[in-house]
C-alpha cells in the first residue's frame, strides 16, 4: 500500500506552518487516489501543538519529542528524527512530502543522504497516475517538466499556494514518540535569535504582491509600494536591483537569486521585467505593470501595462481603490 509521509514544520510559536497544512491536504488527496495512507511526522522539542494542528488535515500524526532540539538548528536533527520514524515504521519505499521553504529544503537534503531516496524539489503539482508524477518548472520556468522516481519512493518538496488546505471531516489521532537517543550528525547551536524590525509576511505565501524595481528610485519610494500593498492586503516584493541598492531587505527579493512566487496578483512598479526577475514571478495569475517605458520586456508578459509615471499612477490607484471601497 503506497505510503505518503508529511513532514510538519513548526513555526517559532509552536503552531504548524500554513505550508505544512497544504502539503498535508495534497498527501491526503494522493493517498486517496493511490489507495494508500497519508501520515504526518512532526519532530520538535515540544511537537504537541504543531502535531495536534496537523492532525486536522491527516488521519494520523506521529509527534516526536526531542528535548535536545531546543537551542539547535532544526533541520538536521529533525531529518534524523524523520528517518528514525520511517525505519521504525518499516518504510523503505514511501513518498516523503514537505514544504519547499528554507527549512523544508534543508531537511530534504539531509533526509536524502540519510535514506538514499531521490529528491524532486519545488513541485508545482503532484499527481498519482499509477505512479507519482511531479510537475516542476525547469530553467527558471522556461520549461515545465513531469518527473517520477525510478524506485517507488522519494522525497518531494512542494511550493506554497499549490493546494488549498482542507481539514478532514474528522480530525486524526496524534501518536507521541520519544526521540531515538543516537543522534549521529553534528547539531549546530543557535547562540542568538534576532528579530528584525519591519519583518514582513513571507512573500512566497502572499496572494497579492506589490513589487518595486529600479524605477522606484530609492528607499523612500518604497513607501508607496508599502502603502499600496497595505491597501490591497498584499506583501511587498522587489527586484534584485532594488535589494542590491539597499532600498529593501533581501527577504523580499523575487527572481533568479531570490524567491519564486505565484500570487493571484503581481503588481509591478518600475520593473522592466528582465529575465532574472521574470523567472521569479511569471506564473502569477494576473500581472499588472506600471512603467514609463512601453517597450520594457514586462510589456510582453503582463496582462495589463499602464504606461506612465509610477508615482502618479500609483497615487491615483490608491485614490481609486479608496473610492471603490467607499
Amino acid at each position: 500500500m503506497p505510503q505518503f509521509w508529511v513532514v510538519g514544520e513548526p513555526n517559532a510559536d509552536g503552531s504548524i506552518s500554513k505550508l505544512s497544512t497544504e502539503v498535508a491536504t495534497l498527501a491526503s488527496t494522493l493517498a486517496a487516489a493511490a489507495g494508500g495512507e497519508a501520515t504526518g511526522i512532526v519532530v520538535a522539542a515540544t511537537p504537541e501543538r504543531a502535531a495536534g494542528e496537523l492532525a486536522a488535515f491527516l488521519p494520523r500524526v506521529i509527534a516526536v519529542a526531542d528535548p535536545a532540539l531546543a537551542g539547535h538548528a532544526w533541520s538536521v536533527p529533525a531529518a534524523e528524527g524523520v528517518a528514525a520514524v520511517l525505519a521504525a515504521e518499516g518504510d523503505t519505499d514511501g513518498t516523503v512530502l514537505l514544504g519547499a521553504g528554507p527549512d523544508g529544503r534543508d531537511l530534504a537534503g539531509t533526509l536524502a543522504a540519510l535514506t538514499g531516496r531521490g529528491v524532486l524539489a519545488n513541485a508545482t503539482a503532484v499527481a498519482w497516475d499509477g505512479r507519482l508524477v511531479v510537475e516542476m518548472g525547469a530553467f527558471g520556468g522556461k520549461l515545465i517538466t513531469s518527473s517520477g522516481f525510478t524506485g517507488t519512493g522519494g522525497i518531494v518538496t512542494v511550493r506554497p499556494n499549490m493546494v488549498t488546505a482542507e481539514p478532514l471531516p474528522v480530525a486524526g489521532t496524534v501518536e507521541p514518540r520519544a526521540a531515538a537517543a543516537d543522534a549521529a550528525l553534528p547539531r549546530v547551536a543557535v547562540v542568538e535569535q534576532v528579530e528584525e524590525a519591519g519583518a514582513a509576511a513571507p512573500i512566497e505565501e502572499a496572494r497579492i504582491i506589490v513589487s518595486g524595481g529600479r524605477g522606484i528610485g530609492g528607499p523612500d519610494g518604497f513607501e508607496l509600494v508599502r502603502e499600496l500593498a497595505g491597501q490591497l492586503g498584499g506583501a511587498v516584493g522587489a527586484t534584485r536591483a532594488a535589494v542590491d541598492s539597499g532600498w529593501i531587505p533581501y527577504s523580499q527579493q523575487i527572481g533568479q537569486t531570490g524567491k519564486i512566487v505565484k500570487p493571484n496578483l503581481y503588481l509591478a512598479l518600475g520593473i522592466s521585467g528582465a529575465i532574472q526577475h521574470k523567472v521569479g514571478m511569471q506564473t502569477a495569475e494576473t500581472i499588472v505593470a506600471i512603467n514609463r517605458d512601453p517597450d520594457a520586456p514586462i510589456a510582453e508578459f503582463a496582462d495589463l501595462l499602464v504606461v506612465g509615471d509610477l508615482f502618479e499612477v500609483g497615487r491615483a490607484l490608491m485614490v481609486a481603490l479608496r473610492e471603490r471601497s467607499g
Partner: protein, 262 residues
C-alpha cells in the same frame, strides 16, 4: 584557512536558450555555459575570507570535460585551483548521485569550510549542500548572510536568515555553509586574474579515481527521471493603457474587479 567552493556550470539564463534533448537531459550544445550565479556569491565570500585570514580557495565541480572552461572563469576571480570530477557515466545524474560523488571528492581534500550556493539556476533544488554535509558528518549551516570563522578557536559563526530576522549559528570547523547573495556582490575578474587563471591547476578526477562505481552512481543509477517536458502555456495578450494617471488607475481597478482581486 582552506575553503572549498562547490561550483556548477549552468546554461546561461540570460541567453534563454535552455532545452532538453531527446534523452530528456540538458542539451548542452544549445546554450552557452556560465558559472551558476549563486555559486559566484559563495566564491566571493570565500575569497574575502581568505584575503582576511590567509589560505586558499579550491573549486570543486562535477561536470562534463567542458566544465573546465567555465571553471577558468571562476579561477580568474581568484580561486587557487580547481578539481573537476568528470566521467561519462555521470551524464544524467540525479541529486543523490551528485551529492554522493561530491562527498567522495571532498574526502580527498583538506578544508576548514565548504561553501555551496543557495541553489542552481537550472535545477533550483538547493538540497545538495545539506546532503553532502550529512554524508560527511559535517555541521550544516544554511542561508548565510554573514560568515565569521575563528581559525584559532576552530569554530565558525553564521548568521542564518529566518523569516523574521536571523539566527546566529555556531559550529566547529570543518563545516559546510550554504551562502546567499547577502554576503556581497561577486567581483569581476581582473585582466591579471584572467591571465593567471590560464596556468592554474585543474585536477581531473574520474569515478574510478574516487573509488566509485558507474553502476551505483550516475545516469545508470538515477533515482529520478524526467517523463515529459513542455513549454508553459502562453500568457494572454497584454493590454496597454496610455493616458492620464487617473485613466491608468481606472483600468487597473476595472481589471482587478473583473478578476475578483479586490
Amino acid at each position: 584557512m582552506h575553503i572549498v567552493v562547490l561550483t556548477k556550470p549552468v546554461p546561461d539564463p540570460a541567453a534563454a536558450a535552455e532545452r532538453l534533448g531527446p534523452d530528456m537531459r540538458l542539451d548542452r550544445a544549445a546554450s552557452p555555459a556560465v558559472v551558476n550565479g549563486n555559486d559566484e556569491y559563495a566564491l566571493e565570500a570565500a575569497l574575502k575570507l581568505v584575503e582576511a585570514h590567509g589560505g586558499e580557495v579550491t573549486l570543486l565541480t562535477m561536470a562534463p570535460p567542458s566544465g573546465a572552461d567555465t571553471m577558468r572563469k571562476a579561477l580568474a576571480m581568484g580561486a587557487t585551483r580547481g578539481v573537476l570530477v568528470t566521467d561519462p557515466a555521470l551524464a544524467g545524474s540525479c541529486v543523490r548521485s551528485t551529492d554522493e560523488v561530491l562527498a567522495a571528492a571532498l574526502r580527498e581534500l583538506t578544508f576548514d569550510l565548504v561553501f555551496s550556493g543557495f541553489d542552481t539556476s537550472d535545477g533550483t533544488a538547493g538540497v545538495v549542500g545539506a546532503a553532502i554535509a550529512a554524508r560527511l558528518g559535517l555541521p550544516y549551516l544554511s542561508n548565510a548572510a554573514r560568515i565569521e570563522p575563528d581559525p584559532a578557536a576552530g569554530r565558525v559563526r553564521v548568521r542564518r536568515i529566518t523569516p523574521t530576522g536571523y539566527d546566529v549559528l555556531e559550529a566547529p570547523m570543518p563545516a559546510l555553509v550554504v551562502c546567499t547573495q547577502v554576503l556581497g556582490e561577486p567581483r569581476y575578474p581582473s585582466l591579471k586574474g584572467i591571465m593567471s587563471a590560464r596556468s592554474k591547476e585543474i585536477a581531473s578526477r574520474s569515478l574510478a579515481d574516487l573509488g566509485l562505481d558507474g553502476g551505483t552512481v550516475g545516469g545508470a543509477a538515477a533515482t529520478t527521471e524526467v517523463l515529459d517536458s513542455r513549454k508553459p502555456p502562453p500568457r494572454g495578450a497584454t493590454t496597454v493603457v496610455r493616458g492620464t494617471a487617473e485613466e491608468g488607475a481606472a483600468a487597473i481597478v476595472t481589471l482587478l474587479a473583473s478578476r475578483r482581486l479586490i
